[in-house]
């Protein structure tokens, strides 16, 4: 599937090194040892959000990702849509965590793209996207409507909540193979937050 991508592409800087991830798992779970680790980058679309004023006046400028530079408004919320599973979530990613990335303009997704080695981190393959920009837009809008009903403030100005143009964000993860009795298993470790989840292949 060919997925057109927005002109801007950003990399979420990896913070957790291989050795940190390994130590963290070994300390927490004695008996578990790491066999191998591999860095990958997971693609998302990030949508800035414009929110209407609670007093009913004009909407505030777009909040969230990258808007502060243009508008001077503090960053608030953004919505990201996972480009493989199509799940949406609110994110608190800040500008400081991101850096511009990639050839400009990028080719259409999926692309055989590898993020080169950088600052002590090995190169990492970018996973191929499966969700189109249109579908991601719809998902983000549906999700925004849903969270608007959960917030009193947003509920009052729900009609004035709009999505901005998306950007592509690549987030780093470690795929770690760990040795545990009786078999080896795989673990996905977030290279930004250190969170982890087993990979059930």
């Amino acid at each position: 599937m060919e997925v057109s991508i927005p002109p801007k592409c950003f990399l979420l800087k990896p913070l957790i090194r291989e050795v940190d991830a390994t130590c963290s798992l070994e300390e927490r779970y004695p008996g578990v040892t790491q066999v191998s680790a591999r860095l990958i980058y997971y693609p998302y679309f990030g949508f800035p959000v414009a929110i209407g004023s609670p007093r009913g006046s004009r909407p505030s400028p777009l909040s969230g990702l990258f808007c502060s530079e243009d508008t001077g408004v503090p960053e608030r919320i953004s919505i990201i849509v996972d480009l493989l599973e199509g799940q949406a979530a609110v994110t608190d990613i800040t500008r400081e965590q991101l850096e511009a990335f990639g050839p400009d303009p990028l080719p259409h997704l999926p692309f055989a793209l590898t993020v080169p080695a950088r600052e002590g981190f090995p190169p990492g393959k970018v996973l191929d996207a499966r969700i189109t920009m249109d579908d991601a837009n719809k998902t983000a809008l549906t999700f925004l409507t849903f969270i608007a009903t959960k917030s009193r403030r947003l509920r009052r100005c729900a009609s004035e909540v709009t999505l901005g143009a998306p950007v592509l964000i690549l987030k780093p993860f470690w795929i770690m193979e760990i040795q545990s009795h009786p078999d080896n298993s795989k673990m996905l470790v977030d290279a930004v937050s250190g969170g982890y989840h087993p990979i059930l292949t």
């Binding site: 599973e85 191929d128 993860f173 795929i175 087993p198 990979i199």
Partner: protein, 516 residues
């Protein structure tokens, strides 16, 4: 008259469904396993309607008609049978069969145990006892049509067998699954409807028990009329286990694991099949008890349900029941014939006689077996018809005793080898046959199925020590089929928010593995 009209409409509907889905068979995997695309609802209902044969309308009610509440040992085991089968074998067998590229349950055993002899012996046992089982269904169809239409038994038998065979050869596995799905719905509606009518006639369960108690208080005992099986725990346990775990040894039932859309299908299918079982399984046994109260002078106990419908609830209920009985018979018979035919064509004909056989030739061989079983079944049923209960329990028990241990060991014990599997298959089958033929349950108070199962398990444990370990490739395949085990203690720290990413990365790794 209305019975005949409803029956013809039902047959036309099933033939149409069968024809519609048979057109989708493009590859051999489509023909034998429906392309492994079967979802949870169809998996659950095809598994249950295949498992519940004409026995449920004849053998089961006849048992309670003769022995009272003793029959509920069988019923209780049966209610949990689908859940046990899917929970123990479902996921792992689905995974392993795909890893090994097996299309029939016997081919699966051959590839898992790396042994040709398993194919020969397994095919022989399967074809013989699946055929015995299907003959039980033929007899049930003849008896049903005889009672409900008034045609002579021989004519009814010819019509019943003709319908079953014509209907089976018209489509492949996918057609069988989808017709089973609709037949499963008809069975549960028909059975439950008649049960409610029957209970209302006898004043509910309390009224029924009062009536039975007045006739003979031992009808109310779990040890049989006249306390025939008093404290015979070996018989009771065998009766409980035969349908609780027996399905795991039936090739035509376990093939449903191999055709599921994904290993996860098993979990949802287990829920559906349990709900269906709760609604369906107890009903025929209770109807057998109702028969004692309403038809105490009935000559053939196996006809208790058709007789109840015909004499007590004539008209539309009788027609409904006729279709439900025929649905039960046909949904089992088509799967039995399909499976026996597949084993003969794929595991015997293609494996040993013509490796380059075309799909057309294999289908022809499969249909030849269906035809031969039909002719033999008619001759046997006309000359000396065995009881449906007797032949079904015998065939079911022998198949179960032959295959339960090899199937379970295949996915739970990576060191299970061909010597252990062969010993388990042969000893289980022989024990059940000897126990049944010699009526040893009378002298030992141990059910033939339980005896066969114990001997099969013991032989497996002993003989497995004499065989060589399977190849590393098979051990790796079994480990993969067991699924990833999360290391102890790790669950507590899992970041649930990362579940979608973990799922996508798992898929990426699988695809990468395939490409590599």
């Amino acid at each position: 008259m209305i019975e005949k009209i409803v029956f013809i409409v039902y047959l036309a509907g099933m033939l149409f469904i069968g024809y519609y889905f048979s057109r989708r068979d493009e590859t051999l995997e489509d023909y034998l396993l429906g392309g492994r695309t079967i979802g949870p609802a169809v998996t659950a209902l095809t598994m249950q309607s295949t498992s519940m044969s004409g026995y449920m309308f004849m053998g089961g009610p006849a048992l309670t008609f003769k022995s009272g509440w003793f029959g509920f040992w069988y019923a209780t085991g049966d209610v949990g049978g689908g859940l046990v089968n899917l929970a123990i074998l479902g996921k792992r067998m689905r995974r392993l069969s795909q890893i090994l590229g097996a299309l029939t349950p016997i081919e699966y055993l051959e590839k898992r145990y790396e042994c040709k002899a398993i194919t020969i012996i397994g095919s022989l046992i399967s074809i013989v006892f699946l055929s015995c089982y299907v003959i039980g269904q033929f007899i049930a169809s003849g008896k049903t049509l005889e009672t409900l239409t008034g045609w002579p038994f021989a004519v009814s038998l010819l019509i019943g067998v003709g319908v079953i065979i014509g209907y089976t050869v018209s489509g492949g596995y996918l057609a069988v699954c989808w017709t089973d799905f609709f037949q499963g719905i008809i069975m549960v509606l028909g059975m439950f409807g008649i049960l409610i009518m029957g209970l209302s006639r006898v004043g509910g369960l309390t009224g029924l028990n009062n009536a039975l108690g007045k006739m003979d208080p031992t009808y109310l005992s779990l040890w049989g009329k006249g306390l025939e099986y008093n404290n015979q725990w070996g018989v009771a346990l065998g009766a409980l286990l035969i349908y609780a775990i027996g399905y795991m040894g039936l090739p035509h039932v376990v093939v449903r694991h191999m055709s599921m859309k994904s290993p996860k299908t098993a979990k949802v299918a287990a829920v559906y099949s349990t709900i269906w079982n709760i609604l369906f399984v107890y009903s025929p046994y209770v109807l057998g008890l109702i028969g004692i109260a309403l038809l105490p002078n009935l000559k053939d106990p196996e006809m208790v349900v058709p007789a109840l419908a015909h004499e007590v609830f004539p008209g539309i209920f009788s027609a409904l029941l006729l279709t439900a009985i025929m649905a039960a018979i046909m949904s089992t018979a088509d799967s039995l014939l399909m499976q026996a035919g597949s084993i003969l064509a794929r595991d015997v004909y293609q494996r040993f006689f013509r490796p380059n056989a075309s799909q057309k030739q294999m289908v022809f061989v499969s249909r030849l077996l269906v035809f031969a079983v039909g002719v033999f079944g008619i001759i046997l049923a006309v000359l000396q018809p065995p009881t449906v209960f007797g032949i079904v329990v015998f065939a079911f028990g022998t198949l179960g005793d032959s295959f339960i241990v090899p199937y379970i060991a295949a996915v739970y014990y990576e060191k299970a080898n061909k010597v252990g599997a062969l010993a388990a298959m042969i000893s289980g089958a022989i024990t059940n046959i000897i126990w049944t033929a010699g009526a040893l349950d009378r002298t030992t108070a141990i059910h033939p199925f339980l005896a066969g199962l114990i001997v099969s398990a013991v032989f497996f444990v002993i003989f497995n020590r004499f065989g060589r370990d399977p190849s590393q490739e098979i051990k790796d395949a079994v480990r993969r089929a067991m699924g990833v085990r999360i290391p102890k203690g790790v669950e507590s720290g899992i970041s649930a928010m990362m579940a979608p990413e973990a799922k996508a990365v798992a898929r990426f790794l699988r695809e990468e593995g395939v490409t590599a």
